[in-house]
Amino acid sequence: MFSALTRERYNASKEFRITVNIVTGTVIMIAILLIFYAFVIFVFPAALEGGANLMPVTQPESSAMAALDSLSSNELKEKEKKLFSLQKQLDKQLPKTPYLIVNTTQNKFFLYSGKKLMREGICSTGSYTLLVKGEEQKWIFRTPKGIFKIREKKTAPVWKKPDWAFVEEGLPIPSPNHPSRFEYGTLGDYALSLGDGYMIHGTLYQRFLGMPVTHGCIRLGDADLEVVYKTLSAGAKVFIY
């Protein structure tokens, strides 16, 4: 009887010790993990950035304009001349005639003459839609990016509808010169061709200006289109980004 009680007590105290050990071990492991985590998240990145502070600073903080005021020696003047000629070389790149810049992300256009902004406004560009018909026929409606030139200027342009215009409407594709391909008034009063079928033209959907809804062409509002048409000559550059 006595021996059984002692064994029971002994077992209970053993269990207690095991429990204490497990709890202590867990706490220690968690503490270690937390320390590691703190080091990895905060200390190492901070050390990585802070290490540079141990090296001496070698470069000036003053601004270029402030420095230019105190220039005097020939060496500095020579350097100034060099900078001027480099800047001139860069400025030479500006088109001699008015040019157009189109931002396809914001759907905005900017008409420039040299560095002077003549007009800015909203436009519509490619919708980034991929039209799929069956497995083989695909059309991507996006405005191409890069430098283009005005190849042709037209008044009262007639739109010769390409195949995708019929496919998009669920209509059968007519023959290349079928009368149903020719639409009057859709492109507005003017059109400026950029090549490969892309144009800057007007729109019947004025409410969509400022949004990416076109099949790749650049649509302008009536008043903007008139100014752009009258300002840009054939050969003028169009920068699309």
Binding site: E49, A52, M55, S63, A64, K79, D91, L130, L131, Y241
Partner: protein, 249 residues
């Protein structure tokens, strides 16, 4: 009991030693980067004792030269001028977009470079190697052609999602350079958290990998720029996948 205490002390001692070593290696990383850059890009003919004014003009010259080199590219190039607090998009010398920097931060190592090393390092445009962003560069909507006119849907305009998106992107350039561009007052939404998490994860996994190999981790110089959301979005969508970047600090 005593043995346990000794084991615990040894165990903690080891942990502290490892963490200490890792910390030291981390501190050494930018120092090593400065030394490497100073060795790789050092021009022995250059006189380091010129005036600050002269060096500022030299920096401008190097910047203009890098821009001149980009004239040969027929793609849109990114120009970052921290001295003027501007970010511009240029195409063959024509400025397409100009954005004023609202907030900027850069690696401290640049102020610790030798002047000749700085001039050499920034004398040629950087090339973008990879990138990642909170929004897609080009997102296409796939539309199945209707079978007949009854299926034709009227034209629908997509609303601009810019107000709901967090606009942030990272450009990894050659010469180990990294650019982090974020919108001013970034929306701290899920996209932003995911972006931040990805950046931190990349940094930490790289750090741990180097430290486990007991190597000094390679330091990547960086700049962080905050600009308006619409401009940040336009910039990222306009620059080509392997575009060029000219930088002036």
């Amino acid at each position: 009991m005593k043995i346990r205490i000794i084991i615990l002390f040894v165990f903690f001692g080891l942990i502290i030693a490892v963490l200490g070593t890792f910390t030291v290696l981390s501190i050494l990383s930018p120092i090593k980067a400065i030394k490497n850059l100073n060795q790789t890009y050092y021009d022995t003919a250059y006189l380091e004792d010129g005036t600050d004014e002269y060096f500022i003009l030299e920096k401008e010259e190097v910047f203009l030269k890098a821009k001149t080199k980009m004239l040969n590219s027929d793609s849109v190039c990114l120009v970052i001028n921290l001295a003027d607090s501007t970010v511009t998009l240029e195409l063959q010398g024509v400025m397409l977009l100009k954005s004023r920097i609202d907030y900027m931060q850069s690696s401290k190592i640049f102020k610790r470079l030798r002047r000749s090393s700085y001039l050499e390092y920034f004398s040629t445009p950087f090339n973008i190697e990879t990138d990642f962003s909170t929004f897609p560069k080009e997102a296409f909507i796939i539309k199945q052609a209707p079978k007949d006119t009854t299926e034709t849907a009227p034209p629908v305009a997509k609303p601009d999602s810019i107000n709901k998106e967090a606009i942030c992107f990272n450009l990894y350039l050659d010469r180990n350079f990294r650019i982090d561009i974020r919108q001013v007052d970034t929306l701290k939404n899920e996209q932003y958290k995911e972006y931040d998490k990805r950046l931190r994860k990349q940094k930490i996994s790289y750090l741990i990998q180097s430290l486990l190999e007991f190597k000094v981790p390679e330091y990547h110089p960086w700049i962080r720029i905050d600009i308006p959301a619409s401009e940040a979005k336009s910039i990222f969508k306009a620059i080509p996948y392997h575009g060029q970047v000219a930088i002036k600090l």
